[in-house]
Amino acid sequence: MSVLVYTENWDGRFKKSTYELVSYAKAIATELKLPLVALSIGNVSEAEFSKLELYGADKLVLVNTEKLHTFVAQAYTHTVYQVAKAENASVLLFNNNYTGRSLAPRLSVKLNAGTATGVVKLPASYAPFIVRKSIYTGKAFADVELLSAVKILTLNQNSFEIRENATGAKVEVREVEVLDKHLAAMPTKVEKASGKMNLTDAEIVISGGRGLKGPENWGMVEELADLLGAGTACSRPVADSEWRPHHEHVGQTGKVVRPNLYIAIGISGAIQHLAGVNSSKVLVAINNDPEAPFFEAADYGIVGDAFAVVPKIIDAVKAMKASH
């Protein structure tokens, strides 16, 4: 038996979330006294893939078939399935991102496995297998007991710290069967998001709401974000009014983010907005209304006019950077 971790690459590279996931998978494998098999599909170099050995993978299986260079849910599912069978995997792990959320449920059907999506910590126990996941868009947690022989988990980002655990494992290239009927939903066009950071990867997020009055006032938000290496986000009405692009909208119906720091500028703090941000480590609210609900959720708050406060923050960050 084994624990199988699916490690997604982006243009041949892994992200911090992959290292978190492999570290998490290693902790589970150690507890279960099973080897950890890391699987990567697509165009990733052996040198890059070997890095996962550092975080505890005992075996590195690379499937680099030409037909699998673009993600198609059905074909990737069939690939993970073949490797899971060959390795007799009893636990399968994915990041809780677009890819993981496509593959985990499909494999759940193929392996008759219980699945917990969006898990936030190590299992509380292994027999019975109980693990905590986020529900109600981050407003609560549920402890889920997986009753099946095979278990599948998708791990939320920023939920587990990276741990080094070198094994010296070498990459093993493997061939799998790819059926043409599984490639029916192959994309005809793929557009990468331009240069900017993915919001869900950002360690710091600076977000603006309707309090900023109009798109012309986002200069200071972007300046602060650039200074801090942060991503930019917004509330739903801001995206709906097309002041900002839709992919910046966070909340119940937008993206869910879990950065170390979320700074909300001119955002009231409606429950649907908080749902997308309240798993952030530190929340800061800047609002001219002392009664704004955001202050109840925030760790730090400033009551004041954003147009006066934010430039002062920018100056203070510049001063801090200059003194380091």
Partner: protein
């Protein structure tokens, strides 16, 4: 053309989330139920497609006990054509998906649509599971959908950008934000008409339970918010650096 739209019945987005019976059960006191927002947006897009080409029958399906019928009637009032309720408590995602797949297997739909996720269990599972049960291609997190004679043209939006997928019938697609602008509100005529529309109740098929929720928990309450005077914004930067250590 025929589409099966899966509708999940969830607590209103403003509901206070609380648990009872030793934190083992969701507290339904004062909770209003709604169509899960992504399902509602998906319905809106399907109605736009129906209105544009005049050839789309929209059947909705919900797995749930009789309580969900009010939510289903609302979807009928907004414009869905007919409804199927699988009469069972939704045990877990695999159970729900199995029920939907069984209904779809015996009736020919050109495609099946779900929301990206239901906002209660935040599972993000049912759509892909239905696709796998039926061995169909799937496109998840669709931010746009067009339907032509024998295929769907779908824009999928992810963290890393956008993809366009053209996929022949039958397939499963899940809708997210962007698929339609605003959900529709049922009007008087819609409400009257919905009473005449068919809501068929079918029994559930067997499926092993593979997961159960044993306990719920609310996040630990935040400590009080530390307030910083507006004229001393530099203090915020100092605290974030020295105390919270996040910058």
């Amino acid at each position: 053309m025929k589409v099966l739209l899966c509708i999940s019945h969830v607590p209103d987005t403003t509901s206070r989330i609380r648990f009872v019976n030793n934190q083992t059960q969701f507290d339904t006191t004062d909770v209003q139920y709604i169509i899960s927002p992504y399902d509602e947006l998906s319905l809106t897009r399907l109605l736009e497609i129906k209105e544009a080409n005049n050839d789309l029958d929209i059947t909705i399906i919900t797995v749930g006990n009789a309580d969900v019928e009010a939510t289903m009637r609302k979807a009928l009032a907004i414009g869905a054509d007919d409804a199927i309720r699988v009469d069972a408590e939704p045990v877990d995602a695999l159970f729900v998906a199995k029920q939907i797949a069984e209904v779809a297997r015996t009736r020919n739909f050109d495609f099946i649509m779900t929301g990206k996720e239901s906002i209660d269990h935040t599972g993000n599972q049912v759509g892909e599971m239905v696709a796998e049960f039926l061995d169909m291609p799937s496109v998840s997190s669709a931010a746009w959908l067009e339907i032509e004679a024998n295929k769907g043209i779908i824009t999928r939006e992810m963290d890393g950008g956008k993809e366009v997928v053209e996929v022949k019938f039958p397939f499963v697609v899940s809708g997210q934000k962007g698929i339609a602008k605003e959900p529709r509100i049922p009007n008087m005529r819609g409400i009257m008409n919905s009473r005449k529309k068919s809501l068929e109740v079918v029994p559930a098929v067997a499926q092993d339970t593979v997961s159960v929720i044993s306990h719920y928990e609310l996040p630990a309450p935040k400590g009080k918010c530390k307030m910083i005077p507006a004229d001393n914004a530099a203090e915020l930067v100092r605290l974030l650096h020295e105390e919270a250590k996040v910058i």
